[in-house]
């Protein structure tokens, strides 16, 4: 890793790590027994670990100039491995949360393990840990290939990968200590938020610098989506997180927004986190890996233009569908509903474009579980956006809001779309990155596919049932005109569905464990086979450094 860095980059990385160490030390000093202090210690430790690592490789000879003729893929490799590690953590905690709703005493009477603290650990670990790392890793891969250009330097991609994971760590450990802003999907406190802004700016600049070196005149669609993801997430993150800390020694801060303005800002953020993190970024992934794996060009270039701008424009209006019938002014709710329904058009256009791309390659979908992951993802994308537009209608939302139906919708999107497209893309990239002809075991990919699909279907059906039953029970009247069921009645009715959901989640988790094993074995055999070659013997074709291959 270090040998790939130039001398200057090695020095610069030492300077950055030293600054980080000083920062961590001062946080630990002013924060003391506040969560901020513990986080200072964490930052300090991370920086010291990094320093040791860089110093240990500092005097390694520099890689020759011929490296500049190939793509720089090491950060993508590390990103993918980290993403899978987060997947294990996030899915495990998700299933634990699910079992807590079956048996609430699975907390062991410890503060850190109670539902309210580990639920955000689940959401952050899957969305930001698993999803975010996969997006960063694949975006590096895709932007270089589609621009036919190597990244401009070796240091900034590492800064992005490790800096981003430091943010994820601060977030997750913060919740366990009880440090949270309580804004859904924006829970981390002010200092972690500032750190993420720095990382994100470097990421954005790196992306633009790579694009500016491209030897393709056009910027390929996948890059538009990745760019929209990077840009809009930055805007959302900065606005929603403006807050005044209690002091520089306190982790706690108070949002500058309050009440109804805060609600609107939060759901403008929250819904567009869905749009630009969980949708736009992963569409970027889909637009590269699906056609590539299927060996077919994208069905329609024009549809991709229309749906891209449709999604970018419409989504930003839709946040208020999270606030139907609340104290938010009525006209804002109506706008949100209208745009949510219109959003169905570009969403289905994207899903359709993906599925039509598979025309002529359906035999591959049948035989290749990796491509099937991507196909199913496109189907679930279509399904969850249809469901979303439906739930955004005020009268439907009066039933679905606050119930498990929302959770069902979330996981149709999260498991069916986000996780499936990611697993598909990772299974496609791993052999390409580690120069192997294929994954270690195609049968294990197949097993993962079926476990993931079964888990998703069980999860989603359980939540649809429980959500609709819950919503109906809350609003049912008996003949005398009073409410028919107490809240506890509805709670008891949920019990069997909560068990089913937790079992579905377990299947999904087992699938991911198998996936990790398979990826690990692929990497290991890659390393072994490289060593086993006799000196001087030419590398097999697939193991050559990728020449700058033509873009699609």
């Amino acid at each position: 890793m270090i040998e790939q860095l130039s001398r200057n980059e090695r020095q610069l990385s030492l300077v950055i790590l030293l600054c980080l160490a000083v920062l961590g030390l001062s946080m630990a000093a002013v924060g003391r027994d506040d969560p901020l202090g513990a986080h200072g210690a964490l930052v300090l430790l991370a920086a010291i670990g990094g320093l040791f690592f860089v110093i240990s490789g500092y005097y390694a000879p520099e890689a020759g100039p011929e490296r500049l003729h190939s793509y720089y893929d090491d950060p993508s490799k590390v990103g993918i491995v980290i993403a899978m590690a987060w997947a294990l953590i996030g899915l495990f905690v998700g299933d634990w949360v699910a079992w807590q709703l079956v048996n609430p005493d699975l907390t062991f009477d410890a503060p850190w393990s109670s539902f309210g603290r580990i639920r955000p650990v689940h959401t952050t670990a899957v969305i930001f840990g698993f999803g975010g790392n996969a997006l960063i890793a694949t975006s590096f891969y895709v932007m270089q290939r589609t621009s036919r250009a190597r990244m401009p330097d070796q240091l900034s991609p590492w800064f992005v990968v490790f800096g981003y994971n430091l943010f994820c760590l601060l977030a997750v450990t913060g919740y366990l200590m009880g440090s949270t802003q309580s804004k859904e999907y924006a829970e981390p406190e002010w200092y972690a938020d500032i750190w993420l802004v720095i990382v994100w700016v470097v990421y954005f600049v790196l992306y633009l610098r790579t694009l500016s070196r491209r030897s393709e005149p056009h910027i390929y669609v996948a890059n538009w989506y990745y760019l929209a993801f990077i840009l809009v997430v930055a805007v959302l993150h900065i606005v929603n997180n403006i807050a005044v800390p209690v002091s520089f020694g306190h982790a706690k801060s108070y949002s500058i927004f309050s009440g109804v303005q805060d609600a609107m800002t939060q759901w403008w953020y929250g819904h567009n986190a869905v749009a630009f993190f969980l949708t736009s970024g992963f569409l970027g992934m889909m637009y590269y890996y699906l056609p590539k794996r299927a060996g077919r060009p994208i069905f329609s270039y024009r549809i991709s233009i229309i749906s891209f701008w449709g999604i970018t424009f419409f989504y930003m209006w839709a946040g208020s569908h999270h606030l139907h019938y609340t104290a938010l002014p009525h006209w804002v709710q109506t706008l949100g509903m209208t745009f949510s329904v219109m959003l169905l058009v570009p969403s289905w256009a994207s899903a359709g474009n993906a599925l039509l791309t598979l025309n002529g390659a359906w035999h591959k979908v049948r035989d290749d579980a990796t491509l099937r992951f991507m196909m199913v993802a496109a189907v679930f994308y279509g399904l969850s956006t249809f469901e979303g537009s439906f739930m955004a209608i005020r009268s439907v939302n009066s039933l679905s809001h606050y119930t498990d139906w929302t959770v069902g919708h979330v996981h149709a999107g999260a498991l069916g779309w986000v996780a499936m497209i990611t697993f598909g893309s990772i299974y496609a990239s791993v052999p390409w990155l580690w120069k192997r002809p294929a994954m270690h075991s195609a049968r294990l990919v197949e097993a993962h596919f079926w476990l993931a699909l079964a888990g998703t279907i069980i999860y989603v059906f359980a939540m649809w049932n429980s959500g609709i039953i819950q919503g109906l029970m809350w609003r049912t009247y008996n003949e005398s005109g009073t409410l028919a069921y107490s809240f506890v009645d509805s709670l008891v009715a949920m019990h069997p569905y909560y068990i089913a959901r937790a079992i579905g989640g377990l299947l999904f988790l087992i699938g991911a464990v198998i996936g990790c094993y398979n990826i690990w074995m692929t990497i290991r055999t890659a390393a072994r086979s490289a060593d086993a070659r006799a000196p001087g013997e030419p590398a097999p074709l697939y193991a050559r450094k990728p020449a700058l291959e033509p873009a699609e």
Partner: protein, 245 residues
Amino acid sequence: MNVFGFHYRLERKAIGLVLAIIGVASIGGIVEIAPLFTIHQTVEEAPDMRVYTPLELAGRNIYIREGCYACHSQMIRTLRDEVERYGPYSLAVESKYDHPMLWGSKRTGPDLARLGGKYSDEWHVAHLNNPRDVVPQSVMPAYGWLGRTDLQAADLGAHLKAMRAVGVPYTDDMIANAATDAYGQAAPDTPFAEGVTKRYGEATNVRVFDGAPGRLTEMDALVAYLQILGRLTAAAQKPLAAAKE
């Protein structure tokens, strides 16, 4: 097809693409959010609205810390069944001093917007210590450590100050006495109790919330907060109760 021709040129310029994305994406947010800051049309008047006492604010922070909002909403919608189940629907003004708001998005447990005064302090303490002692079917976690942990009250002044910085009208007097007011609100027989009613009004609850006098615990703070939910202003209690639908 000029549109596509235009796009064909646009996608050759990274900066053009970046600016176009920002421009197109900004419109929705600006149109929907900016007008909400013309407060007078968004939020009703409620002259009787009071701010949280330091103890209640500390309780609110514990509510946030423990993630109670993940299972409980604090927003009664304008639907008949909700109004009958939980009480008059929530008004915007009621969360005027909530930085951030805790409306919630999921009701694994019931809505808490009008919880204040519904149960006794003893009920809350027993329920938080182990919900299943009170409601056998409950899936709410037990929060046994709250009653065993002393409340950190020393820095509450700094908290009020930060709240003032974001627009909540705390006075210098309130900020200077924050720590003693927190103590006094849970210790009615001490000289500190008087200052609380002087600064926050006669109607403020001053009593031993956790049933264990002499010690200021996190349980005191959380129960004090739960007992004030929906009671900072009487605006919603006016005969608005007939829901729209």
